[in-house]
Amino acid sequence: MSIEATSPNSGVSGKQSAALPESWSRPPFIKNHLLRWGLLLGVVLYLYLSIGSLEVNWTRIYEGLDRGAKFVFGFMNPNFAGRWNDISEGIIESLVMTVTSTVIGIAISIPIGFGAASNLAPLPIYLFCRGIIALSRSFQEIIVAILFVAIFGFGPLAGVLTLSFATIGFLSKLLAEDIESIDKSQAEAVKATGSPWWQWINYGVQPQIMPRLIGLSLYRLDINFRESAVVGLVGAGGIGATLNTAFDRYEYDTAAAILILIIGIVMLSEYISGYIRAGVQ
């Protein structure tokens, strides 16, 4: 017989083996000792040298402490009332930008996410969609905002486009990864019924990715709110513009009021999205 036969009766033997090891340690991740210790030494050396290359100007720091203190004291007594009209206008504009850009971003991200999932899309579509994702991810929001402000002028339109663009890179990538890790057998079972493609997506794939899609969308909503404050600094509208003006006028108390509002809104949306996410599991 070509296949090894072991009878259940003779398989277990009572005899003692002479040369069994007495101790055991976990096999190292990198087998070569020289390489393993060399890498560690290299990292430590590099860290030491790079810290040494930082120039520290102590007198400048001493002078700056004053300004820093003013900033911090601004937080102690934030001034909401002084420029309340500007602040509320900015906040409302930011919220509008956030919601609009998130919705536009999600609407574009879903098809791109499906196209970027290697288990669904044919190679040319996969590469095209991955290309868009890479493009969107390689530019920081500020850089994109500067470009869009140059094209569309100052104001929230540039901000909305910037945030939509950034949403695509984030959401499509994570959605594609979730699609790639679905349980294949569930999707296969729906396919085996003779279901056409769109119905197969609707029944075999969509239910599996829905919780993640909702979770990511809510998460992106509060990222977009935070980012709307940042892109405002370069003129793309929203609360960031108000914040920028406050800094320019050295009104740290107003700036502090704005930052506190941003923190409050982000925390609130974090709480709400956590609540919703728990509900859709």
Partner: protein
């Protein structure tokens, strides 16, 4: 009705999973496919509905060569083959009803299925089948709330609502306890008989195969080494299929306990089955 001719499946890794299989299954015939792990049982039935693409050979089903079919026609052919899976493969986050109705997706348009507005005849049939498998009260439960046996029943209803000509059953009882396994096998074979359905059932458990099928095919290393009635499955045949093993071991252990000193040559008897129950 189903005729497989010289089927070969070679994986890209170079493994030869199916090595020239010829097999014919008639209308209404329940056939068990046995063999060791890795013998190609799963691959064989997955080739029939083209979840795997065969390397060469022909699969004739209702007058069409499945191997040659393209997307649209392949989907139409798949509608006539119900499949039941080892790990049930229900869509976990959908309800029992949605899972059962997904068996009709090949017949229902996109918007109807998207809005869950299935034709009334389909819904009625779904309720009838759910009652048949004993889950008539569970239709709004989510699939992940069910036990293993209940899930497999939903899987059976999903396959049957397709109104297929053949059932492809891949290790239906591998994750179930002995009692549930028997109930599931009984359910499958009864429904097959009732609707004059043919079935290919991959199964590990030789006793179950003998108990519930009229024909047994033994697969070893991608080739058929036995094709005959369940009663002719003697130790030498099992050795041919699975390799050398002491097929009387179960008997001997029993004999040692002093209950019965006579060693029965028959590897799997009624007694053995009773013991497993």
């Amino acid at each position: 009705m189903l005729e497989i001719k010289q089927l070969v499946k070679k994986y890209r890794t170079g493994d030869l999973a199916i090595n020239g299989v010829d097999l014919k299954v008639d209308k209404g015939q329940v056939m068990a496919l046995i063999g060791p792990s890795g013998a190609g049982k799963s691959t064989l039935i997955r080739c029939v509905n083209r979840l795997e693409a065969p390397t060469s050979g022909e699969i004739w089903f209702n007058g069409e060569n499945i191997v040659k079919l393209r997307s649209g026609k392949l989907r139409k052919a798949r509608r006539n083959m119900g499949m039941i899976f080892q790990e049930y493969a229900l869509v976990e986050r959908l309800t029992v009803m949605e899972n059962v109705l997904s068996g009709r997706l090949g017949y229902v348009g996109f918007w109807r299925s998207y809005l869950r507005k299935f034709p009334q005849t389909d819904v009625k049939e779904a309720f009838r089948l759910l009652e048949k498998v004993g889950l008539e009260k569970m239709f709004n439960k989510r699939a992940d709330e069910l036990s293993g046996g209940q899930r497999q029943r939903v899987g059976i209803a999903r396959a049957l609502i397709q109104n297929p000509d053949i059932l492809l059953v891949d290790e239906p009882t591998a994750s179930l306890d002995p009692k549930t396994s028997r109930q599931i096998m009984r359910l499958i074979t009864e429904l097959c008989e009732e609707q004059q359905l043919a079935a290919i059932i991959n199964i590990h458990d030789v006793a179950l195969a003998q108990m519930f099928s009229e024909r047994i095919v033994g697969l070893r290393e991608g080739s058929i080494v036995y094709d005959g009635s369940p009663d002719d499955l003697k130790p030498d045949v099992l050795t041919e299929i699975y390799g050398e093993e002491d097929w009387t071991a179960v008997r001997i252990r029993k004999a040692k306990k002093g209950q019965d000193s006579e060693v029965d040559e028959e590897p799997v008897s009624e007694e053995h089955m009773a013991e497993l129950m």
